[in-house]
Symmetry: C2
Subunit: 457 residues, 2 copies
């Protein structure tokens, strides 16, 4: 079997592949609301079976099912695992869509629909690569596993116990993560890590009920307490003041800095699009990119207390809350950070402020010099005809640590998307040619992985 | 004419007086929504005419009409002005009323209804005192003026220009303010001042739109900027840090402290009712009361930015606002304080935060040793048979400065209410006996004012 025969099969069947993707896009699967989840999970199961995988539906406790699929290779001892998700973001604001979000309409060579780029296009491209090998050669160059969850867009709250329980079943030599694509210059981009995240809510309480603000000299104001507490957590220079927060955080290595220098950073475009004269602290160029990818953060996602209507109201509120997320970098563990937040507040006299924990994920990163990174880059460069751009990490978060830190496999995120895909926004889309190229990219990757190229893994 | 004849007239007509008050209560007049304002203003005009006053309806520019009434005395050169309002607070939450808020139902000797205590009961008690003199003696012991506005409950936003325009018409030797009553021990309480207030909104802006919180290292967060700005305005000891804020603020005089010592302060009851272990900064006793009445304040009435729903959302908001009120004491002028707030923010590096001005009133206070205070106290003590309690000022705010500072008259607030009246709350009420006593109190006051007792004014 030559890889060219596989490419040829992909080309011959591209119309059907598009049809299968469109059909999947037509199944709503909004994790935030539960809309269509069950039906879509069933469709994913069928599509995986149709693509030649042996499929097992793993129920999550209190969550949406994980669809697991595998096919063993006779000629390779290596196993490659794909992590994907079938759930999508809510389609709001619906009125801004040019075609219904779950129609999968094709216009000007692009498929439009919620989830087509994030993550159904990637999922289908990977399944169709497997199918191509099976149809052309009757076997796969490496053993393949798929873990396809249904709660990625809401923070994968129930995935960890599944990973623990099925650690043996999911074991593999390497993992391809769910996202990725080419940049504006056409270079394929690979992402070697994700930040961790810890989401919390701080709650301050005052009197039993709101009182008239004339009583301000006597009645504690939880809005003030929350403001004061928050102001001890981060200063105006954006430095996080929680004792030990930066403990163990390492500066990027020389190698990582070299990677950063090769990343085209659309600084002016971003500022213009967001109406900003400058980035935070006047950061520019390499320093800005370095901060974006390597700095841990503390963000107020929301703060609310008291009156919010028109004009004024002389009220002294009885409660206040702020929602915060902390983005974490390697060696910052959510449990430890939570302890440090609580300890900090107590130490600074804010022991009365309750800290509620929401979701968290650990940071995860695969070293730049890992052979698997070179293998993925090589496959990408052959398909896209341009140098692969390596992001030592993405600025985002996700459950990558379950595979990287717990199951101990190298993880690279690479896929078939592009900068205009509008993931999470109205008119999400995926060009058909990029989708088909993505199938070939994944086929190449699987082939390389099963061949001598992966010997060093 | 003896005052006893007037009291006798009041007793004989008490049933009708109650009926007239109930009828007025039945006219909704919610300034916040405009409900029933016009009809109630007309009813007030008729009631004032029926009580013997010459009435003039003064339209407010963009506001509810001010009803002005007067009657000249032949035998006294002194003029006493009553400030009242016919508008009421919204009746919400309606479901907590035992009878409909605008029914004026009488149960167990009490009239129930929104506005019966604040301020329709006081208004009617004053009008009926005037009527009593006219019916019994055909004249009033002193010239009487009424300024009855319709926007007190929304901060009297349009009253100032009316006061300026009609300064001559409204001129008087002294003013009785709208509120007051007996305390739990039955002592009549007189209030000699109000704090000023300045309401503002601070607005911080970030990017053009909300962004994903993964971008936190680069994108300014207006919620953080607002938190930092606020934390420079007041510290955890409740000290306001705006340069010059406390300039010219005077400590209470020895005489005022003596007054404070005579005020029964229901400290433990208040804490218990509000579920507080202690007041702000552990204040107790005289110190707490002194702070309540004499300290200027800065209150966050509301603060809002970003996500406020259940759980967490990884969003970085693009705007944030906080509503604040500053309560001001004599010699703190709203215009100057506003300049100081803006200057402070600029100086502290928060010139990007917009300061929007809402309503304001100046502080106002009549000296304890003013003869008019003694005159009102004397009348009250004869009617209620208990020592009058003098509050050098109330902790609240209102347009008193228009009469005290602009029209230069001494102002005392004294009325017919009581601690269980539930003003601004469901089941607002006024006992009939207190209402009738209030008519007599006002008659006594008018009589004293026109007699030798007021010579020293």
């Amino acid at each position: 079997m030559s890889l060219n025969e596989v490419y040829s099969y992909i080309d011959r069947n591209s119309e059907r592949f598009v049809k299968e993707l469109v059909e999947l896009v037509r199944k709503p699967s909004v994790a935030a609301t539960g809309e269509g989840i069950e039906e879509c999970a069933e469709a994913v199961k069928e599509l995986m079976e149709k693509s030649g995988l042996e499929v097992k539906v793993i129920p999550e406790k209190d969550g949406n099912p994980v669809i697991y699929g595998e096919i063993k290779s006779e000629r390779s001892s290596k196993t490659l695992l794909f992590y994907d998700h079938y759930d999508v973001q809510p389609p709001d604001p619906i009125e801004e869509w040019e075609s219904p979000p779950f129609s999968g309409e094709i216009r000007n060579g692009k498929i439009y629909g919620r989830g087509v780029s994030d993550n159904k296009g990637n999922l289908v491209s990977r399944l169709k690569a497997v199918e191509a090998f099976l149809k052309v050669a009757g076997e796969v160059p490496a053993s393949i596993k798929f873990v396809v969850e249904g709660e990625e867009e809401i923070g994968s709250p129930h995935l960890a116990p599944v990973i623990r329980e099925y650690a043996d079943l999911f074991s593999a030599d390497a993992c391809i993560w769910e996202f990725g694509g080419i940049n504006r210059q056409g270079n394929p981009c690979l992402y070697l890590g994700l930040k961790g995240v810890l989401s919390v809510e701080l709650r301050a309480k005052g009197a039993k009920r709101d009182v008239h603000s004339a009583n301000a000299p006597l009645i504690p104001n939880p809005a003030w307490r929350l403001v004061w507490a928050l102001s001890t957590i981060k200063n105006e220079k954006d430095e996080i003041l929680i004792g030990g927060f930066y403990e163990n955080v390492e500066e990027p290595s020389a190698e990582e800095i070299e990677c950063l220098k090769k990343i085209p950073f659309e600084e002016e475009e971003t500022k213009k699009e967001l109406g900003l004269e400058q980035f935070l602290n006047g950061l520019t160029g390499l320093e800005a990119l370095k901060a974006l990818l390597f700095n841990p953060t503390c963000t107020i996602n929301g703060i609310h207390s008291g009156y919010g209507g028109a004009g004024s109201k002389t009220v002294l509120p009885c409660k206040a809350f702020a929602k915060l997320d902390f983005r974490l970098v390697p060696r910052q563990m959510p449990d430890e950070i939570l302890d440090k937040i609580r300890g900090h507040l107590k130490k600074r006299g804010f022991g009365d402020i309750e800290v509620i924990r929401y979701g968290s994920t650990e940071p995860a990163r695969t070293p730049i010099n890992h052979p698997f990174v070179r293998l993925v880059a090589s496959a990408a460069e052959r398909i896209y005809g341009k140098k692969a751009i390596i992001y030592p990490t993405s600025a985002g978060s996700g459950p990558m640590h379950l595979f990287r830190n717990w199951l101990k496999m190298p993880v690279v995120s690479a896929g078939c998307s592009y900068p205009e895909a509008r993931g999470h926004a109205p008119n999400e889309n995926l060009p058909i040619n990029l989708f088909i190229k993505g199938v070939k990219f994944m086929a190449t990757l699987i082939n390389d992985f099963g061949s001598d190229l992966s010997e060093k893994l």
